[in-house]
Symmetry: C2
Subunit: 156 residues, 2 copies
DNA sequence: GTGGGACCTAAAGTCCACTTGAGGTCAAGG
DNA sequence: CCTTGACCTCAAGTGGACTTTAGGTCCCAC
């Protein structure tokens, strides 16, 4: 081993499926060199990059957004404290937003217990953060502020 | 009007799109009688039912799960305080769990700012809920609380 | 020199919660 | 009579993040 990792090794060490790794490469989230035979060889730094991707997903970013964020960071070095701080702050805002929305939901719920109201116009549970949105097709289980806890449902 | 609502009226009053209402009927979440001409006529109770659906979605339930929950409630009456309280409590647990997970993420993030670590084994952001390094080299999954699908059910 | 992994590509499938489109029916109004 | 508008059905499309499938290559061990 010359410090480069096969896709299988990356998958094993990162917990990201091989197919997902290929998909990420296609989406420009990670990059790999190739052997003579065409097999991917990932630099070790891909592990950090994948950590970043995972973390960003946890914060609720889409892959295109994550790609943007990654583009702002150095390709193969540890990001500078300043860059990192800026990103982190943005993420924390998002987290705060999500947490707030959930808390609102929960508190609305508490006040609902026993009353059974679910008032269409007033119930905080029904209408959290009063986003009533109609936003085009696609899965939309949570109100925008709450959207997306990533699928990560590999067997465990 | 004999207390029955057209699909358009239901859509307007509930904020749920006409197409969604038809979809819900197909999924067994709501039911409607038909006029001679074949048009749907919804009982007024559908509004409460839809409120329930919305609320449950906000808590993160899938439509099949919601159908289950609805099955446990009386078809056309207001649910009893007891039933309602039981459901609400379950939902609040879910919310609490999600909120906790997100807070952990956020707090881990705060401690990351300026360090730029994203350590695969130690970083709270990457590995929320310290399901951390316990498991040999490489990273692990999301904390259960951030996973999409509840322990009681299967997944997509 | 052959069997078996690990790898490759491109395309299609999956899941969820819907929406959109095509093509048709029905009741009321001008 | 004809149009308008609300409704109908069934089929296909949408978006995100992947996975699965089909068919092939590469290389190592026996």
């Amino acid at each position: 081993m010359d410090g480069l990792l096969t896709i299988g090794q990356v998958a094993e060490r990162s917990g990201v499926a091989v197919s997902a790794l290929r998909y990420y490469e296609a989406q420009g989230l990670v990059s790999a060199s190739r052997t003579a035979g065409g097999a991917r060889r990932f630099p070790r730094s891909v592990l950090r990059r994948l950590a970043f991707v995972r973390a960003a997903q946890n914060v609720g970013l889409t892959l295109p957004e994550i790609r943007e964020a990654l583009a702002a960071l150095p390709e193969d070095r540890t990001p500078s404290g300043r860059d990192w701080a800026r990103l982190s702050a943005a993420w924390r805002d998002r987290l705060d937003e999500r947490i707030r929305a959930l808390e609102q939901l929960r508190d609305g719920l508490s006040s609902c217990i026993g009353c059974g109201c679910l008032s269409l116009t007033r119930c905080a549970l029904y209408n959290p953060g009063d986003v009533a949105a109609a936003e085009g097709p696609g899965a939309r289980r949570l109100s925008p502020a709450l959207r997306r806890v990533p699928p990560t449902s590999n067997a465990g």
